[in-house]
Amino acid sequence: MLDSKIPEGPLADKWTKYKDDIQLVNPANKRSIDVIVIGTGLAGSSAAASLAEMGYNVKALCFQDSPRRAHSIAAQGGINAAKNYQNDGDSVHRLFYDTVKGGDYRSREANVHRLAEVSTNIIDQCVAQGVPFAREYGGLLDNRSFGGVQVSRTFYAKGQTGQQLLLGAYSALSRQISKGKVDMLTRHEMMDVVMLDGKCRGIIARNLVTGELERHAAHAVVLATGGYGNVFFLSTNAMGSNVSAAWKAHKKGAHMANPCFTQIHPTCIPVSGEHQSKLTLMSESLRNDGRIWVPAKKEDADAIRNGTKKALEIAEADRDYYLERRYPAFGNLVPRDVASRAAKERCDAGFGVNKTGEAVFLDFASAINRYGKTEASIRGLSEPSTEEIVTLGKEVVKAKYGNLFDMYKQIAADNPYETPMKIYPAVHYTMGGLWVDYNLMTSVSGLYATGESNFSDHGANRLGASALMQGLADGYFVLPYTIGDYLANDIRTGAISSDSAEFEAAEKAVQERIDHLINNKGSKPVDDFHRRLGRIMWNECGMSRNEAGLKKAIVEIRALREEFWKDVRVPGNATSYNPELDKAGRVADFLEQGELMCMDALAREESCGGHFREEHQTPDGEALRDDENFAFVSAWEFVGDPSESKMIKEDLVFENIELKQRSYK
């Protein structure tokens, strides 16, 4: 049923051979081919810029006021690449292996190997663009290590790597805009894809400033629309991040793969109250130097919670560095899913350290001490005092993580140089997404999905610093090749007209839905429904899941969806700038997507990566996979009603990696 179109041959040769064999489009013909790219994050900007450089006519859309604001901008820690600059034994194979293992063996070998292969090109490309990565004193690029691996392969720009990479891609995009090769439509949202003769041939878009609906025809459409973490209402995603473009594609025939694979990031600033609108990540890079702990004694935890004791008053011997205790080999650098569950386990057991009981400490005291001693030695201080060491150590920590510490201080009103940070897991990334084949084409001809919006590379858990790698790999180096193989058949097609009955019908359906929302005049604002959906999802389809909870969630989501359409209140009109209307459309889609996530989580009777089914765990509480029965991708087909979606399996074949119980002990 599902053809992943993985090329034949040995793993390491597949991509090279594939590139040698695919059809090319000659430069003159590229000028008569139109491509639409939705979203301008790392995947979208890089794809739009690369396609335009190659000669295609590109139209790019983003809902923000500028392509530079897409949420890739907020990625903090870094980007992986198998450069082996540190001579610590890294290689393409090792990056490939770590990624498949980190994903708990639920990703495609061929896709991941390709990602590891092109990772090195990304760094070369970005440096050539003027991306100011961190450097060592000798002028060469610096690296750090990230969770789930034992090498230092992460390139970074302080805690703002995503920003610098996106601005690099944005500059490449800007160059093509200035040449007239990219038509950039900001404050535009894709409302639906349009199908002609079984192929995706355009979109209906809405100008968010004027409210006008627009038809855009093209030979192919690329979705680079990010993930759907905001289905949980509270996540580290931007407020505008949404599933709508992917969901509209899904409803037109693109299968949604592994929707229940959600990444809960272990180090986020805890929820402070009911008013909370989003959660802020503290980069995983902090786990290089921060040690995670909770009090070993319950009475200490109680005392901290009710404010009679402070973290610093807990003696070393009374602290439980639970990651170091449970996972001595990886310690604080276990993968995200493992770290998150371990935090939840301690907090559920009553050792949480803030008012809500949902927080653990991330402590930099030993790092400050260690760095201070090294720095004192570099400066030739003999017998430095403790204060001198601490001062010097703080300077080093500030140089490494200054902006993150500032951000924490601002939000939590607490000084992490003096007292440990409080952190708790939060929704961060979605490994699931639109099903794509090796070409990154969805199950709809001519419709592609890249970056976080597809499912392909991270399996059931993404390793840190791999999202940026995948976004840029897809946009710069994979899609520009693979899309040519499809477009080569379109050189004689000519321009696609948007005057057809299909465009007419799609536009009409979009208009009707907007009219319904505006005219509904219910009693509750959109956020009211979004918050309630988020609570259901977090409680039943969050860090751990079980059959009864998921079944309950499905019933509740259906009821909430019904209530939404009856009782939502969208103020204003549809013919002017109306952010509440934009939000209503997105929440309506989340209300369908959320149910599918629960259905997927229910169907996957095993634990793997970020998907932890309470019924399936080892005696010591680790995720228990079932490779015999669940080594497949679940791709869901929309059949008219979100509750009736059908699952299609793509079996995962592992020829180069032996499936093992993942162990970080």
């Binding site: 530079r68 663009q129 003027g130 100011p132 450097r135 805009i177 200035s178 103020p571 204003g572």
Partner: protein, 250 residues
């Protein structure tokens, strides 16, 4: 906390705007400023009125989308923070807070507190890039060492989030801090050298075309900049611009 909010309302670029007054109670000091605005909008929507339109997205100080002029200061009373990172603990119970959009000729109001900053994009399009295609076959990333200090300075300039607080804070609505940050990032890196002169000329020309005002070195921009972009970038841009202009007249 109980607050009195005076908020700028304006239907569109051509419409006349006015300040609306709202009373808002039950505000928690732990809320961010934008969460307080969410609360205000919830109250307005439930009362059957139209909510206040404002730009925001990441809510962690990096996307550069939020843009409020609060009590006469871009991004409010805090230093080194955007509006989304400003918390209500910076205010007192009973305060009256005035909230306005960025005001600059080059940033027309779209609605209420939302303004059009596409002028910034056009300045970047004029030359804020290094002309290198995405071949993946550029030289190895470590082939050209860059002294750490220079790389760090380039990074500091590159941290500009393009929010426009510099323009909003300047009495002349000058965009010099924004433009000079991008010019400096590339001027400090070896990769930026081939186009160094044409870049600064093209970007400055576009900046003038967009209707931004002149710089009179008061430094208000750098004080209000949430990312601490340094004034020395403006000096560097002036130097580069001067040098490029003299050379191109030969």
């Amino acid at each position: 906390m109980n607050l009195t909010l005076k908020v700028w309302r304006q239907d569109g670029p051509e419409a006349t705007g006015h300040m609306d007054t709202h009373a808002l109670g039950g505000v928690s000091p732990d809320m961010s400023f934008l969460e307080m605005m969410d609360m205000l909008n919830d109250q307005i929507i439930r009362a059957g009125e139209e909510p206040v339109a404002f730009d925001h997205d990441c809510r962690e100080g990096i996307c550069g989308m939020c843009s409020m002029f609060i009590n006469g200061e871009a991004h409010g009373p805090g230093r080194g923070v955007t509006t989304c990172q400003l918390h209500m603990r910076s205010f007192n119970d009973g305060d009256t807070i005035a909230i306005e959009p960025w005001r600059a000729q080059a940033f027309p109001v779209i609605k209420d507190l939302t303004v059009d900053r596409s002028a910034f994009d056009r300045v970047i399009q004029a030359g804020g890039y290094i002309s290198v295609n995405t071949s993946g076959n550029t030289i190895d990333a470590n082939a050209i060492p860059v002294p750490k200090e220079q790389a760090d300075d380039a990074f500091s300039a590159a941290t500009c989030i393009g929010c426009g607080a510099c323009v909003a804070s300047c009495k002349n609505a000058s965009a010099m801090l924004f433009v000079s940050a991008k010019v400096s990032q590339f001027a400090l890196l070896p990769q930026g050298q081939p186009e160094r002169e044409s870049r600064v000329q093209r970007m400055v020309e576009q900046m003038d075309k967009e209707g931004f005002g002149n710089c009179t070195n008061t430094g208000a921009c750098a004080v209000e900049c949430p990312k601490g972009i340094d004034l020395s970038n403006i000096a560097r841009m002036n130097r580069d611009f001067m040098s490029a202009t003299v050379k191109s007249k030969k």
